[in-house]
């Protein structure tokens, strides 16, 4: 039986974009901040605001990934007409990293939401290879063990329907 995908209702109603005058929405106007630096100057003071920081840390402590929080922030910025969606996507890594910094400063456990584990103790494989090439030490090659060949006698099946051999057995 074919597994049919369930319908998604989390979409705009057809014609919804025509319910308001063109240009009346903030995101249909030229953005307020056009560069990544301007956008960061808008976001970073908000992140470190002592009035908003405890709330942000609480959200992080609940286990919501930083990537999700940053995405929600930048989407809200786009909807308010603060910046374009391109600038929003560009600044997301900085927002995530800033939030990670704030969480560690406040000793709050958080989830990054990305597979990449940022750990200074972990050494990249490319760096290991580079170090080995510099020191002229060849990495240990895996020695392939020869496969044991089965003698044809071992392959003879002993079933009722098996072919008889020369001896008639």
């Amino acid at each position: 039986m074919v597994d049919m995908p369930s319908p998604s209702f989390d979409r705009p109603i057809p014609g919804q974009s025509l319910t308001a005058e063109l240009g009346s929405r903030p995101w249909q106007q030229p953005p307020q901040y056009t560069t990544v630096e301007e956008a960061l100057e808008y976001y970073v003071p908000r992140l470190v605001n002592p009035e908003l920081l405890p709330q942000l840390l609480d959200v992080m402590e609940t286990g919501i990934p930083l990537t999700t929080i940053a995405n929600a922030m930048q989407v809200a910025g786009v909807m308010e007409g603060k910046h374009s969606i391109d600038v929003g996507i560009l600044i997301m890594p900085v927002l995530i990293e800033t939030m990670a910094y704030l969480a560690e400063e406040a000793d709050v456990e958080y989830e990054t939401g990305s597979n990449k584990t940022v750990d200074s103790d972990l050494i990249d494989e490319s760096r290991i290879a580079l170090a080995l090439s510099k020191s002229n030490i060849e990495p240990e090659e895996e020695i392939e063990e020869p496969m044991e060949e089965q003698s044809p006698e071992e392959n003879i099946l002993g079933g009722l329907m098996a072919r008889r051999n020369k001896d008639g057995v």
Binding site: V36, T67, E104
Partner: protein, 65 residues
């Protein structure tokens, strides 16, 4: 689709550049010009990678004491 996840995973952090040692060059009339080159104007994503790298460095220092 998590956009934040994608932006973080596709981010290429700048490699630490070690300053090249200035070789002893002759300063004669026909010597090559040794004026420092103008810094390249970085693309927005390169600037972002630079900012992330700086914040991460600070975070690692904070983490490691």
């Amino acid at each position: 689709m998590n956009i934040g996840y994608m932006t973080m995973n596709n981010l290429q952090l700048p490699k630490e550049d070690t300053p090249k040692e200035m070789s002893q060059q002759s300063g004669g009339l026909l010597a090559r010009d040794t004026k420092p080159q103008k810094p390249k104007k970085l693309e927005p994503r390169d600037r972002i990678a630079q900012y992330v790298s700086e914040i991460r460095k600070g975070r690692m220092e904070l983490k490691n004491g």
